[in-house]
Protein backbone atom coordinates (compact mmCIF):
# COMPACT_ATOMS: atom_id res chain seq x y z
CA UNK A 1 0.00 0.00 0.00
CA UNK A 2 1.15 3.52 -0.64
CA UNK A 3 1.33 6.31 1.87
CA UNK A 4 -2.00 7.77 0.76
CA UNK A 5 -4.13 4.66 0.15
CA UNK A 6 -6.76 5.33 2.81
CA UNK A 7 -6.37 9.10 3.21
CA UNK A 8 -9.79 10.71 2.77
CA UNK A 9 -10.47 13.52 0.34
CA UNK A 10 -13.18 16.09 0.98
CA UNK A 11 -14.87 18.08 -1.74
CA UNK A 12 -16.97 21.14 -1.03
CA UNK A 13 -19.32 21.60 -3.99
CA UNK A 14 -20.60 25.16 -4.25
CA UNK A 15 -21.27 25.68 -7.95
CA UNK A 16 -24.24 24.15 -9.74
CA UNK A 17 -22.84 24.43 -13.26
CA UNK A 18 -22.52 21.32 -15.40
CA UNK A 19 -18.78 21.73 -15.95
CA UNK A 20 -17.90 22.11 -12.27
CA UNK A 21 -20.22 19.28 -11.21
CA UNK A 22 -18.64 17.08 -13.90
CA UNK A 23 -15.14 17.99 -12.69
CA UNK A 24 -16.16 17.14 -9.12
CA UNK A 25 -17.69 13.82 -10.21
CA UNK A 26 -14.50 12.88 -12.08
CA UNK A 27 -12.34 13.71 -9.03
CA UNK A 28 -14.69 11.65 -6.86
CA UNK A 29 -14.65 8.63 -9.17
CA UNK A 30 -10.86 8.72 -9.40
CA UNK A 31 -10.43 8.87 -5.64
CA UNK A 32 -12.96 6.05 -5.17
CA UNK A 33 -11.07 3.91 -7.68
CA UNK A 34 -7.92 4.42 -5.60
CA UNK A 35 -9.74 3.26 -2.49
CA UNK A 36 -9.74 6.70 -0.88
CA UNK A 37 -12.89 7.62 1.06
CA UNK A 38 -14.58 10.75 -0.35
CA UNK A 39 -16.71 13.18 1.65
CA UNK A 40 -18.83 15.58 -0.41
CA UNK A 41 -20.40 18.64 1.19
CA UNK A 42 -23.10 20.37 -0.87
CA UNK A 43 -23.57 24.12 -0.54
CA UNK A 44 -25.71 26.67 -2.35
CA UNK A 45 -26.13 26.05 -6.11
CA UNK A 46 -24.51 22.64 -5.99
CA UNK A 47 -27.08 21.63 -3.38
CA UNK A 48 -29.85 22.98 -5.62
CA UNK A 49 -28.57 20.71 -8.42
CA UNK A 50 -29.10 17.67 -6.14
CA UNK A 51 -32.83 18.32 -5.71
CA UNK A 52 -34.78 15.24 -6.81
CA UNK A 53 -36.79 17.31 -9.28
CA UNK A 54 -33.67 18.96 -10.77
CA UNK A 55 -30.90 16.37 -10.69
CA UNK A 56 -31.45 15.23 -14.28
CA UNK A 57 -31.89 18.77 -15.66
CA UNK A 58 -29.43 20.25 -18.11
CA UNK A 59 -27.30 22.70 -16.09
CA UNK A 60 -25.70 25.93 -17.34
CA UNK A 61 -21.90 26.24 -17.64
CA UNK A 62 -19.48 28.49 -15.76
CA UNK A 63 -19.32 31.98 -17.33
CA UNK A 64 -15.73 31.47 -18.50
CA UNK A 65 -16.90 28.70 -20.86
CA UNK A 66 -18.01 31.22 -23.50
CA UNK A 67 -19.69 30.12 -26.74
CA UNK A 68 -16.69 28.07 -27.88
CA UNK A 69 -16.45 26.21 -24.56
CA UNK A 70 -20.20 25.62 -24.54
CA UNK A 71 -20.00 24.07 -28.00
CA UNK A 72 -17.12 21.81 -26.89
CA UNK A 73 -19.06 20.61 -23.83
CA UNK A 74 -22.18 20.04 -25.91
CA UNK A 75 -20.13 17.98 -28.36
CA UNK A 76 -18.71 15.88 -25.51
CA UNK A 77 -22.24 15.10 -24.33
CA UNK A 78 -23.32 14.31 -27.90
CA UNK A 79 -20.34 11.92 -28.15
CA UNK A 80 -21.67 9.99 -25.17
CA UNK A 81 -19.97 11.58 -22.15
CA UNK A 82 -22.13 10.45 -19.27
CA UNK A 83 -23.93 12.99 -17.07
CA UNK A 84 -22.12 13.99 -13.86
CA UNK A 85 -24.71 12.29 -11.68
CA UNK A 86 -24.06 8.93 -13.38
CA UNK A 87 -20.32 9.30 -12.72
CA UNK A 88 -21.11 10.01 -9.06
CA UNK A 89 -23.39 6.95 -8.86
CA UNK A 90 -20.60 4.81 -10.29
CA UNK A 91 -18.16 6.25 -7.75
CA UNK A 92 -20.57 5.29 -4.95
CA UNK A 93 -20.75 1.73 -6.33
CA UNK A 94 -16.99 1.18 -6.34
CA UNK A 95 -15.94 3.08 -3.26
CA UNK A 96 -16.77 4.84 -0.04
CA UNK A 97 -18.46 8.10 -1.08
CA UNK A 98 -20.55 10.02 1.44
CA UNK A 99 -22.63 12.96 0.17
CA UNK A 100 -23.95 15.44 2.75
CA UNK A 101 -26.06 18.56 2.34
CA UNK A 102 -24.98 21.71 4.19
CA UNK A 103 -27.68 22.47 6.74
CA UNK A 104 -27.36 26.26 6.31
CA UNK A 105 -27.78 25.97 2.54
CA UNK A 106 -30.82 23.73 3.12
CA UNK A 107 -32.29 26.52 5.22
CA UNK A 108 -31.45 29.32 2.77
CA UNK A 109 -32.95 27.40 -0.17
CA UNK A 110 -35.99 26.34 1.95
CA UNK A 111 -35.31 22.66 1.29
CA UNK A 112 -36.27 19.62 3.34
CA UNK A 113 -34.36 16.34 3.21
CA UNK A 114 -37.15 14.56 1.32
CA UNK A 115 -36.74 16.99 -1.58
CA UNK A 116 -33.19 15.82 -2.23
CA UNK A 117 -32.26 12.99 -4.59
CA UNK A 118 -31.52 9.73 -2.71
CA UNK A 119 -27.87 9.94 -3.84
CA UNK A 120 -27.53 12.45 -0.97
CA UNK A 121 -26.83 10.53 2.24
CA UNK A 122 -27.84 13.15 4.78
CA UNK A 123 -27.68 16.69 6.12
CA UNK A 124 -24.87 17.96 8.33
CA UNK A 125 -23.34 21.14 9.65
CA UNK A 126 -19.88 22.50 9.01
CA UNK A 127 -18.44 21.08 12.24
CA UNK A 128 -19.36 17.53 11.22
CA UNK A 129 -17.87 18.19 7.80
CA UNK A 130 -14.50 19.25 9.25
CA UNK A 131 -14.39 16.39 11.72
CA UNK A 132 -15.10 13.87 8.94
CA UNK A 133 -12.49 15.52 6.69
CA UNK A 134 -9.88 14.84 9.37
CA UNK A 135 -6.34 15.35 8.11
CA UNK A 136 -7.29 14.77 4.46
CA UNK A 137 -7.27 17.42 1.76
CA UNK A 138 -10.27 19.72 1.28
CA UNK A 139 -11.06 20.96 -2.22
CA UNK A 140 -13.61 23.72 -2.97
CA UNK A 141 -15.33 23.53 -6.34
Amino acid sequence: MSDQGEEPISLVLFSGTDDRLTAAAVLTAGAAALGRPVHIFLQYWALDAFRADKINMRRPLAPEAGPEGAAAVQQAHADGQQPWVETLRMAKEIGEVDIQACSLSMDILHLSADQLDPIVDGVEGVAAFYVNAGVGQVVFI
Binding site: M1, S2, Q4, G5, V26, A29, G30, A32, A33, L34, G35, Q81, T87, M90, A91, E93, I94, G95
Partner: protein, 85 residues
Protein backbone atom coordinates in the same frame (compact mmCIF):
# COMPACT_ATOMS: atom_id res chain seq x y z
CA UNK B 1 5.27 -17.49 -22.09
CA UNK B 2 1.50 -17.04 -21.84
CA UNK B 3 -0.18 -14.93 -19.22
CA UNK B 4 -1.54 -18.06 -17.55
CA UNK B 5 1.93 -19.61 -17.27
CA UNK B 6 3.28 -16.43 -15.72
CA UNK B 7 0.72 -16.64 -12.94
CA UNK B 8 2.16 -18.49 -9.97
CA UNK B 9 -0.51 -18.03 -7.33
CA UNK B 10 -4.04 -17.64 -8.72
CA UNK B 11 -6.46 -20.04 -10.36
CA UNK B 12 -5.02 -19.28 -13.80
CA UNK B 13 -8.01 -17.27 -14.92
CA UNK B 14 -7.31 -14.20 -17.09
CA UNK B 15 -10.13 -11.64 -17.35
CA UNK B 16 -10.13 -9.03 -20.10
CA UNK B 17 -11.71 -5.61 -19.70
CA UNK B 18 -12.25 -3.71 -22.95
CA UNK B 19 -12.28 -0.02 -21.97
CA UNK B 20 -11.39 1.28 -25.44
CA UNK B 21 -13.05 4.60 -26.27
CA UNK B 22 -13.76 5.43 -22.63
CA UNK B 23 -12.47 8.75 -21.34
CA UNK B 24 -10.77 9.49 -18.02
CA UNK B 25 -11.62 8.43 -15.32
CA UNK B 26 -13.72 5.56 -16.68
CA UNK B 27 -10.88 3.13 -17.55
CA UNK B 28 -9.62 3.23 -13.95
CA UNK B 29 -13.18 3.21 -12.52
CA UNK B 30 -14.11 0.14 -14.62
CA UNK B 31 -10.83 -1.47 -13.57
CA UNK B 32 -11.59 -0.89 -9.88
CA UNK B 33 -15.00 -2.51 -10.51
CA UNK B 34 -13.64 -5.45 -12.53
CA UNK B 35 -10.79 -6.34 -10.15
CA UNK B 36 -13.38 -7.19 -7.47
CA UNK B 37 -14.44 -10.19 -9.58
CA UNK B 38 -10.85 -11.42 -10.03
CA UNK B 39 -9.43 -13.95 -7.55
CA UNK B 40 -6.32 -13.02 -5.61
CA UNK B 41 -3.27 -13.86 -7.75
CA UNK B 42 -5.25 -13.91 -11.00
CA UNK B 43 -4.76 -11.48 -13.86
CA UNK B 44 -6.87 -8.68 -15.27
CA UNK B 45 -6.01 -7.43 -18.76
CA UNK B 46 -7.27 -3.92 -19.55
CA UNK B 47 -7.41 -2.38 -23.03
CA UNK B 48 -7.81 1.39 -23.30
CA UNK B 49 -7.29 4.23 -25.77
CA UNK B 50 -6.90 6.92 -23.09
CA UNK B 51 -3.30 8.30 -23.21
CA UNK B 52 -3.63 9.37 -19.54
CA UNK B 53 -3.92 5.69 -18.64
CA UNK B 54 -0.14 5.16 -18.62
CA UNK B 55 0.29 7.44 -15.61
CA UNK B 56 -3.07 6.42 -14.12
CA UNK B 57 -2.50 2.66 -14.11
CA UNK B 58 0.99 3.06 -12.63
CA UNK B 59 -0.44 5.25 -9.85
CA UNK B 60 -3.46 2.99 -9.29
CA UNK B 61 -1.25 -0.08 -9.06
CA UNK B 62 1.09 1.62 -6.57
CA UNK B 63 -1.78 2.89 -4.46
CA UNK B 64 -3.96 -0.25 -4.39
CA UNK B 65 -1.17 -2.84 -4.27
CA UNK B 66 -2.41 -4.69 -7.37
CA UNK B 67 0.78 -5.38 -9.33
CA UNK B 68 1.18 -4.04 -12.87
CA UNK B 69 2.90 -7.03 -14.47
CA UNK B 70 2.84 -6.02 -18.11
CA UNK B 71 2.28 -2.89 -20.18
CA UNK B 72 2.28 -2.59 -23.98
CA UNK B 73 1.00 -0.16 -26.60
CA UNK B 74 0.10 -0.90 -30.23
CA UNK B 75 -1.93 1.10 -32.75
CA UNK B 76 -3.11 3.58 -30.13
CA UNK B 77 -4.37 0.85 -27.79
CA UNK B 78 -2.74 0.65 -24.37
CA UNK B 79 -2.75 -2.75 -22.70
CA UNK B 80 -2.18 -3.26 -19.00
CA UNK B 81 -1.98 -6.57 -17.17
CA UNK B 82 -2.64 -6.41 -13.45
CA UNK B 83 -2.34 -9.12 -10.83
CA UNK B 84 -4.87 -8.88 -8.04
CA UNK B 85 -3.18 -8.76 -4.68
Amino acid sequence: MTLTESNPTGTGQVTTLDAKGLKCPMPIVKTAQAIKNVSSGDLLEVLTTDPGAVADFAAWSRSTGNELVEQTVADGVYRFVLRRK
